[in-house]
Symmetry: C2
Subunit: 335 residues, 2 copies
């Protein structure tokens, strides 16, 4: 059987372009071994953390391998199974290659009990995205009702969910975004209290101060860089900085310079904590159940940007770095 896959063609320096990826055509073997599945990819997750994996650097996930397929969160449909626990047509989720068709061991995936229409939620609000929002905000941020939560990258996949959970917990929620369209969406559809378009701001720090008259108790940071520079001086005593992403810095060629933040953290007893959801693996069931419950009650809305066509994967990933997405960015393959 024919398959197409995207491999890492080179390790980019700075902002990557499509030349970092190469489309490869190959054939899959005809006979499955015991416990193997033949899968057809349906939905592919593209995430900012993937930029880090394009480098050959120590981090919380392994780097991609040169000339090997990129991999990430994928929802797929079983087209053939040699495992009695899976049958043709089952939907599965796993950390899988960017390939149209693939043969994998059944231990690499788990079944998801949903329809094809709703399956992409397992890459978003019911998957890594939702859990990242949940654990970062609740376990590190420890929000209390009445506190002020500010979110950078607020219209991104994680940011959207963080803001909604913070509202569920009774906080005042301020979102930093890059377009007026995103600002409007967060206020109207996701009930954020305030939004700031940093691309419109000549003095971002003043706008932050104005939007947070009681100061900031929790800063959920997806972006870093100059946006965090405008926020950190406004954080209250005993504030918490949840370090979830630093998308502004991922394409930096050298270690970027900025104002030293230790004096703020020191004199105000502020906590800053980097994390990955793996740190909370014993709480996955709790997190998924809570997110699923809020989704069903209508307290949590999903937000997705769906890009059609397997061939669009590289462009979709690169689009994250120019803020092309609202909510979770997902590529939907041809059927």
């Amino acid at each position: 059987m024919e398959t197409q896959s995207f491999v890492l063609a080179k390790r980019p320096v700075g902002l990557p372009d499509e030349s970092a990826f190469k489309l490869k055509r190959s054939s899959l073997k005809d006979e499955l071994k015991d416990k193997e599945l033949n899968l057809h990819g349906l939905f592919y997750s593209v995430d900012p953390y993937m930029r880090g994996r394009m480098n050959d650097a120590k981090s919380y996930v392994e780097p991609f391998i040169l000339d090997q397929p990129i991999n990430g969160g994928v929802v797929a449909r079983v087209s053939e199974s040699k495992d009695p626990d899976f049958k043709k047509g089952d939907l599965v989720l796993g950390q899988l290659p960017w390939a149209t068709e693939m043969i994998v061991s059944s231990s690499q995936v788990h079944k998801i009990n949903t329809t094809e229409k709703l399956a992409s939620e397992y890459l978003g609000v019911l998957g890594m995205t939702g859990l990242t929002a949940y654990f970062g905000l609740l376990k590190i941020g420890q929000p209390k009702a009445g506190e002020t939560v500010i979110i950078s990258g607020a219209a991104g996949a994680v940011g959207c969910v963080v803001g909604q959970i913070a509202k569920i917990k009774g906080c005042k929620v301020v979102g930093i975004v890059g377009t007026n369209e995103k600002a409007k969406l967060l206020k109207n559809d996701f009930h954020f209290d305030e939004t700031i378009n940093y691309n419109d701001a000549t003095d971002l720090a003043s706008l932050v101060k104005q939007a947070c008259p009681d100061g900031i108790d929790i800063f959920y940071d997806n972006v870093g860089g100059v946006i965090s520079d405008a926020i950190i001086p406004n954080i209250n005593f005993h504030g918490r900085i949840v370090l979830c992403g630093q998308i502004a810095l991922y394409n930096a060629k050298e270690i970027p310079m900025g104002p030293r933040i230790q004096p703020y953290l020191l004199t105000r007893s502020i906590l800053m904590q980097g994390f990955t959801i793996g740190n909370f693996s014993e709480h996955f069931a709790e997190g998924t159940a809570a997110l699923d419950g809020w989704l069903k009650e209508g307290k949590l809305k999903s937000s997705q940007t769906i890009v059609e066509g397997f061939a669009e994967l590289p462009k979709a990933l690169l689009g994250l770095f120019s803020g092309k997405n609202i909510g979770k960015m997902i590529v939907k393959a041809e059927n």
Copy 2:
């Protein structure tokens, strides 16, 4: 009765000199009111945090007031008492003015049960200094036996105690200092495993890496600036940065720039926490008892630099910023 005091003459910009202080002579009233004490100062604590109080800026302690006496930790002897709970000759500890003689309300001090010879420990290892080391290392750093702890300002008042507690807890302890004399003292008298003299280093980061072959689990930071730049890239996954001081930055005239640290914290799930001992006030009794116990068992040694003469207070404080002290810097008044 005649008294002398040091008042804040001006708010310095950058590194202060003695012109920031002015010696004032005045007379104390003759009659004490009920619950008042007349005190003669014996030992005066000088601490790096006092530099921050010379500015007019929001922090965890109030700024000093212009033309009013500097205040800090002082051990004094009661020379006259109108409170039945205190008698002439009692030793007391309090947050008191830099004055040779003073009249205060008895509620401002508490009695310490010790000899005049040992009373200065209540400004050091049995006082704020010891508690700062204790809470920062144990409550934030959470050391486990076998972990590597690195301390900047290791020969300073707090650093000396942190290293000794880390050894008590079974950690490998590395101290960063500014002179070979301090390095030798930490190894010989305080049983540090490794020391690094940053003034001797052309490539501090390499020396840190060499001294910590298993990486760093806890960074107890008293100094900040370029020293922290050499340490943070060597911190392990799940490492903890205890932000206790940033003496390298206290005299900065503008917000100093440095490499952005968020990418390290993010990708390695590192915690950074600023603190002041006030955050742990409900544990003061536990901390003091533990420190006192270790001191009596000989597991913890006191280290002090005693400067003789009330008139030397400004010079002693300023000396902290050029590393003139080993251990706790204290000024001893004339009897």
